[in-house]
Each structure stands twice: as C-alpha cells, then as structure tokens.
Amino acid sequence: MGRQQGWFALILALTIASGALLANYGLQLGLDLRGGSQLTLQVMPAGAITRVDTEQLEAVKDVLERRINGLGVAESTLQAVGSDQLVLQLPGEQDPSQAARVLGSTALLEFRAQKPGTEQEMQGLLGLKRQAESVLRSKRPPIALDDPTATPPPPPSSLSAEDLAKALTSLGIKVPAGASEVDQLELLLRETNRRILALYGPPLITGKDLTSAGRQQQATGTGWEVTLGFNREGGEKFAALTQSIAGTNRVLGIVLDGRSISEASVGEQFKVAGITGGSASITGNFSAEEARDLEVQLRGGSLPLPVKIVEVRTVGPSLGAENIRSSLVAGLSGLALVAVFMAVVYRLPGMVAVVALSLYALFNLAIYALIPVTLTLPGIAGFILSVGMAVDANVLIFERIKEELRAGNTLIRSIDTGFSLALSSIIDGHVTGLISCAALFFLGTGLVKGFAVTLAIGLVLSLFTALTCTRTLLRLLMSYPALRRPTYFLPARQLPPARTAAAQPGVA
C-alpha cells in the first residue's frame, strides 16, 4: 500500500502544479483562434547561392526583425520554419498590406553615375518615363490622401493613344492583343527602366554606406523625400561621385531593387569638391506612406537574399472567437457524453476513469502552457483525438478486468491481471501513433505540425494516466472493504455462480 500512496502523492502534486501553471501562464492561442495576420516569407536563392542555408536564413531574419521593429507592431513574432521560410505573426493586425510591402522588398539601394556619351538617349527615356508615370498616377484608383489639405495633383501631361503606340514601337515592345492602356503604360515603364539602367555605370555607393535614414516633406510641392546620412567612407564616395558628373548633363541615378527611382543632375558649383557633408536626399515624389516604408527598409538594411511572400492569412477576431467557442462546446459536450458512457458501462472503475481522464485533460493543458504549444484548430483536433486514445486505453483495461472476473478470479487479482494483460496492446497502439506523429512533425508543414505536437503529447500522457492514475486511484479505492464488490465492476449475472456467493463477505 505504501507504493500506492507514493503514486497518489505524486498525482496530487502534479495536479496542483498543473493548476498553478495554467493560472499563471494561460494558453497561447493561434491566430486562427484569436484573429490577426500571418505572413509566410520564402527566402529565394540568388546569384551564386543556389541553396539557402541556416546562416543565410538567420541573416535575412535579422534584417526583417529590424524592419518590423521600425514598423512598431506590438507582439509580433518572426520564426524560421524549415530551411528557407520565415513566418511572421501579427496578432490583431487586420491589414497586413503595409507589413507585406515593407518586408517583401530587398531594399538594395545603389547610387550610380550615368555613362558618358549617353546624354541624348537618357533624356528621351526620362521624358517617356515621366509622362508614363504621371498618366498612370492619374489612372490609378485614388489612394486615400495622406494630407487632406494637400492640393490635388496637377492634371496629367497628355500622352495620346497615338503617341503611346509610337513610343512602344520605338522601344521595340510587342503589345499583346487586348492589353488595356494601363497595361501598355506598365510595359512602357518596364522597358524604359531597363534601358535607363543599362546607361548607368556600376554601383558606387550602396545601402551599406548609410548610417541613418529619415523622411521629410519636400520644400516645394506636396511629395515627401527620404533623407540619408552616409558614414565617413560613404560621404567621401558620394562627394567623388557627384564631382565626377557635376556640370555635365549626365545624371546621378538612385536605384532601388533594380528600379531607377530618382535621377538627379548635379550643378556646376560642385565641380571642385563634389557634394560634401555626408548626407543626401531622395526626391522621388513619394507619398508619406511610401517615404515611411522606404525609411524603415533603409534603416533595417538590405536583405542579403530576396524574399517572396508566399502566404498571407488574415482572420477576423469575430471569426476566431466563433471558432473557439463552438469547438470548445463541441469538445466538452463530446467528452461529457464519453464520461456518462464510461460510468454507465464500467460502473465504479468507469467513474475512476472519468476522474483520471479529467486529470489527463488538465495535465495536457498544463503542458501546452509550459512548452508553450500554440493552440490552433488542428491542434484542438489532435487533442480531441488523443482523448479518444486515452479512453481506449481504459476500455482495454476494464474489458480485461471483466474477463478475469468472469473467469472466476478474485477482484484484486483480476485488477492486477487486467492491467498487465492490457499493457502490450496499449503500448503497441501508442507506439504506432507516436511513429505517425514523428513522421508528421518532421516532414509535415505548419498546420500538420501543430496537430502532430498535440497528439504526441496526448499519447505520452495517456500512457501515464491509464497506467498510473487509473491504477493508483482504483487500488486506493480497493483499500476500502465496502467498495470491494465485483458487482461494482460488472452485472451480477455475468459473474460465475460460485463467486457471487463468496464475494459477499468482501474477499481481499
């Protein structure tokens, strides 16, 4: 009996600890249960790198973390998943478009000087580009104005259908049949950008030479500009670069992610020393939002490898709340029915099993809080199924106990034999379950993983509760002679006739 009491003390201690743990830490709910946005970013191999390894993934993660901090989103988490993916969770965020914009681009900033002898071609291209841009801007659905007092943009310089067609053919662009005017303008922009880039020399200054980035409203006009601060070396390079093109008709190109975002000429007065002082600004006619995005990106640094947003999931909080409530109701009502079933079919041990299974549920939740496991819908499903397995273990044991009693064994012996005979099938079932969980966890993707984790925890715990909790509680009850009646285990008519008579005085 001493051993039983030891086990009982352990179970009691675990129960109290679990309760305390749950009260203090609570459960972490997944975004599908509480609402929010989740973005999955795929790190793409580029250049000489054909496979993304952990080190590169970490480097990308560092930059993205700095950008997220720049955005000032509360409670966000960024986790590496597998070898080349990152998952960003933004609880409560309903509109992930800003985060997607800021995180999705590489933000590789380059300063390049135009090659000599290309002045005329550049002028033509820039003219086309400006025209296409302003027409496009007027065609786009108006994005909410950042500043209500801002004057509306000037009427677009016209680019008639005829001129557009002429420009397209002069650049050698084949327009697919049925392309809208907007599509044609986009094609034109893409081609002019490609040609402008070809006229630039190699990058002389990059985002690595920056120490700071900021934004301010342009002194003239309504747009915003992004200000840059160079480090010492960058400042020197910038001075040399501006000096080399000062007073010529060549431009300084600012290129972001392979797109020329700003082209500036440098005045005659900088012929001697170039633009010194270690700072510059990009006037790309940005909106306030665009300027802020670029500022955050430049501050966080450029990504060592490009990323692509492969998944965006947004769940509204009310959808989440409804899901959690109905799943909870379903789970609890199902379990209540199971409890009634167990008590009716298995009588006294059935009730013991209900207590053991309640403890099982409590331990499960405590482990979720401890690890912590983020509860998602598939996770809840895994939990419900593991409860099914835990019940199965009890059913196996009790059926064996009944068999032993029918065969005419004494109560205590039947209980012991029942447990030991059921053991092998319980272990086989749980081991095969755990093998599946391992395969799912190591090979499956996010959703499947969550399911595998809760099911595996459930299986391991179910071994413990079925073999320890149920057994200890049952043995403890059997130390009370009043409870030692075979009829508390199965209907009297199923007992062999000899036993029913002998059972009355309470045989140990």
Binding site: D32, G35, Q42, Q94, D95, S97, A100, R101, P141, V182, D183, E186, L189, R190, N193, I309, V310, E311, V312, R313, T314, G316, S318, L319, E322, N323, S326, S327, A330, G331, S333, G334, V338, F341, V345, L377, P378, A381, I384, L385, G388, V391, D392, V395, E399, S424, S425, D428, G429, T432, G433, S436, A439, L440, F442, L443, G444, T445, V448, L455
Partner: protein
C-alpha cells in the same frame, strides 16, 4: 474448418469467420465505388485530379467578408463577379495586375457573407478588393473579414509534404509491426490502412463531384489520423492472437481468429463509439472550419473499425496458408 479438436476450445459467441464473405464483398464494393469516384473526378475537366483540390493546394487568394446589416439587401454572385471584373487593381510598378474575370463567388448565410476565390493577390490588391466590396455590398464588419493568400509554389510543397509524411509514417508502422509481430501481420495492417484511407478519399471524391467540396490541408491531417487509428485498432486484435498462441496454438488459425475477434469485439466497438462521440459533437456543434474535417474523421474511423474487425483478422488465415 469447424472440426472438433481435443482441448475444450472456448466457443466464441460471435464467429467472424461465418460472416467473412459478407465483410469482403462489402469492402470490395466500397473500394470499387471509391476508385470510381476518384477516376470520375480525375476525368472531370473542371477538376482534373482525383480529389477537388482546395486553396491550400492550388494557391490563390480567398477573401471572406461579413456584411454588417440585418436584414441584408439581397446580392447575387453574378453581380459581385461583374463588379470584380471591372475593378482595376493596383500593381507594383512594371508588373501587370492579375485579371479578376475568373473569380468564383459564393454567397453564404442567406447573403450575409461572401466567399471569393481569386488568383493570388498581394496584400495591397486584396485590400483593394475588400474596399471595392465595401462600396458595393457594404457596410462590412471589419472583424468578420478574412483573407488567405497561398502562393502556387507553397501549395505544391504542402501537398508534397503531406504525401511524404503519410508514406513515411506508413513505412515506420510497417517496420514496427514486422518486428513485434510478423511480416504478414504488417502487410495486412497496411492493406487495411490503405482500405480505410481509400474509402475516405473516395467519399470526398464523390462529395467533390456532386457538392463541390474541396480538400484542404486539414483533410490531409484527417487521412493521417485515420491511418494511425486504423493501425491501432488492428493491432489490438493481433495482440490477442499473439497472446493466445500459447494456449490455443494447436487450433486451426481460423478458430484462433474467431476467439480473438470475439474477445476484443466489445472493446473495438466501445472504443470506436467513444472516439466518434466527440467527432459527431464537432460535426453538429463545431465551427464551420472543422465540419468537413470531422466528417472525414468520422467516416475514416468507422471504416477503420470495420476493417479491423472484418478484414485484418479474417484475411490472416487466407494469407498464412501459403
């Protein structure tokens, strides 16, 4: 088959061997129906796969919005589709925005919410779609909006990951049973498992054909669960046969199987019943997200119970003779 043997053989109340032909015919029938459903799905030009793949596997954007009104002005799917086709989406410079002409629109809950299936959109574009919907059928409940975008490469990776993990877990289970029982036991356990998974898939193939039900990654999870459950169920009967070898080893295998099935029958039925209880509760009370998941599990577990009683044990004597 029923020859009297010297030791007083326990006489099972229920002899599975008397019903085995019925069990086999039923299973063959169900499997044929499932294969037929899968084949019809594959041949159907609008599906082109054994099961109708959902957003998780095809990639794309799914937008769900809830309208803030009661009662709501009626809205038809065609109306919404027309509006979408006319919408000009913002696109990153130099790229052409996807066309929304091919969007599928479902009107749910008597016009209270809309479910849109679109080509993969970026965050700005899906915001534009929601803003457009707000002006057309609004006001919308911002807390009832959900947007899911899955890139096409992610979809195929998900599918691949699910299949690989399924096959690896099969292999792992087979190895375990081979070591703790024997190769024939393992082979039959896998056969039953394939039977259960096939019938579950078959049901969803028919549902996809007739009701347009799609399979998502939760469905993959349910298949894996059905597989695991099927093996657990089968192993209990096998465990009993192995245990009886000492006492009943002289009896013909058919008799041994009958005794083992009879002894474990109550347990098998009770366990299936108690596992099905929470699942049925999920079907009736659970959220819409888990409905088809619970259906798949319920069918799979019921079939798994059938195969572990009617197939795995009764096939054992047939294959052991050789």
């Amino acid at each position: 088959m029923t020859a009297m043997t010297s030791p007083p053989a326990p006489s099972p109340r229920f002899r599975i061997s008397r019903h085995r032909r019925l069990a086999w015919v039923g299973s063959i029938l169900a499997c044929s129906l499932s294969v037929l459903g899968l084949a019809l799905c594959w041949l159907n030009p609008s599906i082109g796969a054994p099961l109708r793949p959902g957003l998780d596997f095809t990639g794309g954007t799914q937008v769900q919005v809830e309208r803030d009104c009661s009662p709501c002005k009626p809205v038809t799917a065609a109306e919404v589709r027309e509006g979408l086709a006319a919408l000009a989406l913002p696109s990153p410079e130099g790229e052409v925005a996807p066309s929304l002409g091919s969007a599928s629109v479902q009107v749910l809950d008597g016009g209270r919410s809309l479910l849109l299936r679109l080509p993969a959109l970026d965050a700005d574009q899906s915001k534009a779609v929601i803003d457009d919907l707000a002006t057309r059928v609004g006001p919308l409940l911002s807390s009832g909006t959900s947007v899911n975008t899955i890139g096409p490469t992610l979809g195929s990776r998900l599918l691949q990951g699910s299949l690989v993990s399924l096959l690896v877990s099969f292999a792992g289970i087979a190895v375990y049973i081979t070591f703790s029982y024997s190769g024939i036991f393992a082979g039959l356990a896998l056969l039953c498992l394939a039977h259960d998974v096939l019938i579950t898939c078959g049901l969803f193939a028919w549902l996809g054909l007739l009701q347009g039900i799609e399979v998502d990654s939760l469905f993959a999870v349910s298949l894996i669960t059905v597989a695991g459950y099927s093996v657990t169920d089968t192993v209990v009967v096998y465990d009993r046969i192995r245990e009886q070898r000492r006492t009943l080893g002289d009896l013909p295998l058919v008799e041994q199987v009958d005794v083992a099935v009879d002894a474990t029958l109550t347990r098998s039925l009770y366990t299936s019943f108690t596992t099905l209880l929470p699942l049925v509760a999920l079907i009736f009370f659970g959220g819409s997200t888990l409905f088809w998941f619970a259906v798949a599990l319920t069918v799979g577990i019921a079939v798994g119970s059938w195969s572990s009683i009617g197939l795995a044990p009764t096939l054992l004597p047939v294959f052991s003779k050789r």
